[in-house]
Symmetry: none
Subunit: 441 residues, 2 copies
């Protein structure tokens, strides 16, 4: 059986893409997931909401690839033409699916709303399509099979919404399992993402790349997702059990070298890791924020159930609030300034006391672009943490713009909580140069 | 002269794109810039560093578009094949350019480095190419002209580096001027983005689309950037002054219809608009957050200089914090629950008092996914604002996941501040169905 077709073509549809109004991250996400199935993407194409352009590219992709992933154009408006054009291109009638229609209605009912009449068309599918449910939006997706070259299996075209969170979920729950089933007895690929914080990409590369040397079935990759650096480990093996075991060994080797700078696994953010640790250990926290301006509390409350451990946050921007709400001494403020070790310590201790929490955490610093001085340049950060064992405080020098300084400071603070709960050391030297450099004298 | 070709095709080249390792923002940037020259992009394509794939797509693009923008594959490594393949595709010899070679050497000298031998190939160009200098990197770009259809002007293919800052600079300094010269005495295009909050895309479409009817030189477009909906107005005219005047009239017409739901212009976020209003009017604010968990304070402190007006924030997640820090009555909490009108009002008033601010703002609600009930489903939000004129409070029903409920609640809260400072009404009816629907009994 000869099948010289490409593995995957990825098509995204929408005028907004061709006008450059949005950066299309769906294509990279789709290709990444396909690679874990050993399916290589040969082409990414975007076309506008134009029937002729859509029909042409659908036809070409169906002819040239074994799997075609399409995203966008499944919405309820006049511009959303993908379903209609797919039906026309492959000679199918449009058929309304009663079950999907009921699910769309139910989606609106959950929010006490009536379904608008134009949403009904989202329950139309080309005849013979395999419908892909959408648990987080109104637009179901669908899969069409069209004949492949003589002797080769059919081409599968998956049509998915353009909204990333709907697309991601449908991809994982509907598309990947169907492809795995189809690929059958191929070798298993397993990949894992290790999130590190506090070490640069080139250092990671230097420390780890030899782990994959000489083994074509082991791949180690690196990428930055500010403020984290990610290590992606991938192995191929005959079956899932062997692959998982091999991956476990590789992860252990990576951790042996990178140590406690590995802060998480997968898409799990540091606030989720910290949330779980706080819950597990039944510890509570209260946060006093100056430079981070509420970002730490906001990140902690992004995690469902955060009321169990986050008792209180105070954004003490004004000195008066530091004194009144946190009990910082006016003398310390006058003598050392708001960005200083004594004030950071008093903020953490005062917050712990006021909030009645196990841990009090405090940030004070200069986010920029203004407010810096020779002694305390923009990016100066004091972090302090108070708990039953005492209070620690350290100074860092951040080197980014205001938004990234806030983000990096909040990440450092969350990592302090993680370290404290795990019994790991926290010192000024815990984080390398970029984060902790003292300003030059 | 008939020229049925597409305006622009954008091609990006690199294995990393097809593996999904990076999100390609170059394509949207390139298309955006082309649109300002009245050149519409008809297709975006990415192919791997594969000679056959590159040759095929270059040939197709040169045949089908008037302008082809190519980025990537100009680096010094073995994988960087774009120049070589371009030469082969269009039947040109590769010729080394002495001046470019000297500039690459000079680039390394500036950083006290020797040029590596593989960088020399970056001074090779297809014969007849117009070389595009790269002041911020080692890889110069180039432009090739190949014959167009009979009677039509030649196709111009611009080859640029994939590194965004090198690409952006070359585009602005080398490519755009060449295209402007070629397009000659064309008309001027001016565009403006109006940000609306509280009105749906389809309603905007219905209210505004006739403003562009019958005038091919006026374009009105819509897009969503959660939680805002954006109206993009674009006009073409003989010269810049006429275009600007026409655009001013169009903006006035849009505002006459959409009214105070226009919350900003351009890329300016609502927190920046609110910050400017607070500064101008010398008003101060303190924020008590439950459902938003610090996000309002964090957004306000994203704006430089926010210490001038944001006096304090309290993330009062625990009931105890609501009582102690904000003076909410335990009886109200017991009788009505934390998500209720009396508690929202007391939070806003208590925050105003405690923070010594002109305005006290409070949020309480159920972000989800858990914690909802029949009476107070997930997405229930109470907003309250207290100032010298009294206290207002309204209930909203949000319909998203936790992250978006937080974001939408923070946006509503910021818009309340904007409205209050501008003397605009705030009522439960201020925002249409999507935001303010009361739950059905």
């Amino acid at each position: 059986m000869s099948d010289a077709r490409d593995g995957v073509w990825v098509l995204t549809i929408g005028d907004e893409l061709l006008r450059g109004e949005i950066v299309d991250s769906n294509k990279s996400h789709l290709s990444q997931r396909m690679l874990a199935l050993e399916l290589e993407s040969a082409r990414h194409v975007s076309v506008p909401d134009d029937p002729a352009a859509m029909e042409e590219i659908l036809r070409e992709a169906a002819r040239r690839a074994r799997v075609v992933l399409v995203s966008g154009g499944l919405g309820p408006t006049r511009d959303d033409l993908t379903t209609e054009i797919a039906a026309r291109t492959f000679g199918r009638k449009l058929v309304r699916d009663a079950e999907s229609l009921e699910q769309i209605r139910a989606f609106f009912r959950r929010f006490n709303r009536e379904m608008a009449s134009n949403n009904a068309k989202q329950a139309d599918f080309p005849e013979g399509a395999d419908i892909l449910p959408n648990p987080v939006g109104t637009a179901p997706g669908f899969m069409l099979e069209v004949p492949g070259p003589a002797g080769a299996p059919p081409t599968q075209l998956f049509f998915m919404p353009g909204v990333p969170r709907e697309l991601y979920r449908m991809l994982d729950e509907q598309v990947v399992p169907r492809l795995e089933a189809r690929l059958g007895a191929r070798r298993t690929v397993r990949a894992r993402l290790l999130r590190t914080f506090g070490i640069g990409e080139s250092n990671l590369d230097r420390m780890l790349s030899d782990l994959a040397q000489g083994d074509p079935d082991t791949v180690i990759g690196f990428r930055t997702q500010f403020p984290d650096n990610l290590v992606r480990i991938l192995v191929r093996a005959a079956d899932a059990r062997t692959a998982d075991a091999k991956l476990d060994v590789l992860e252990r080797d990576v951790r042996a070298r990178v140590g406690d700078l590995v802060v998480g696994v997968g898409e799990r953010k540091l606030e989720e890791v910290v949330a779980e640790l706080l819950r597990e250990r039944k510890r509570t926290i209260a946060v006093a924020e100056s430079i981070t301006g509420g970002l730490i509390a906001s990140r902690l409350t992004d995690v469902p159930g955060s009321s169990a451990y986050l008792l209180e946050g105070i954004v003490a921007y004004a000195n008066d609030a530091k004194v009144r709400a946190l009990g910082v001494s006016p003398e310390s403020l006058a003598q050392h300034g708001a960005v200083s070790e004594p004030v950071a310590r008093q903020m953490a201790e005062g917050m712990r006391r006021a909030g009645g929490a196990d841990i009090g955490l405090a940030t004070t610093g200069i986010a920029g672009p203004d407010g810096g001085s020779a002694e305390k340049p923009v990016g100066t950060l004091w972090l302090a943490l108070a708990d039953g064992e005492g209070t620690i405080a350290h100074r860092y020098q951040l080197m980014n713009d205001r938004a990234r300084n806030k983000e990096l400071a909040s990440q450092l603070a969350l990592d302090w909580i993680r370290r404290r709960l795990l019994g790991l050391p926290i010192s000024a030297e815990t984080f390398p140069r970029l984060l902790s450099a003292e300003p030059k004298k």
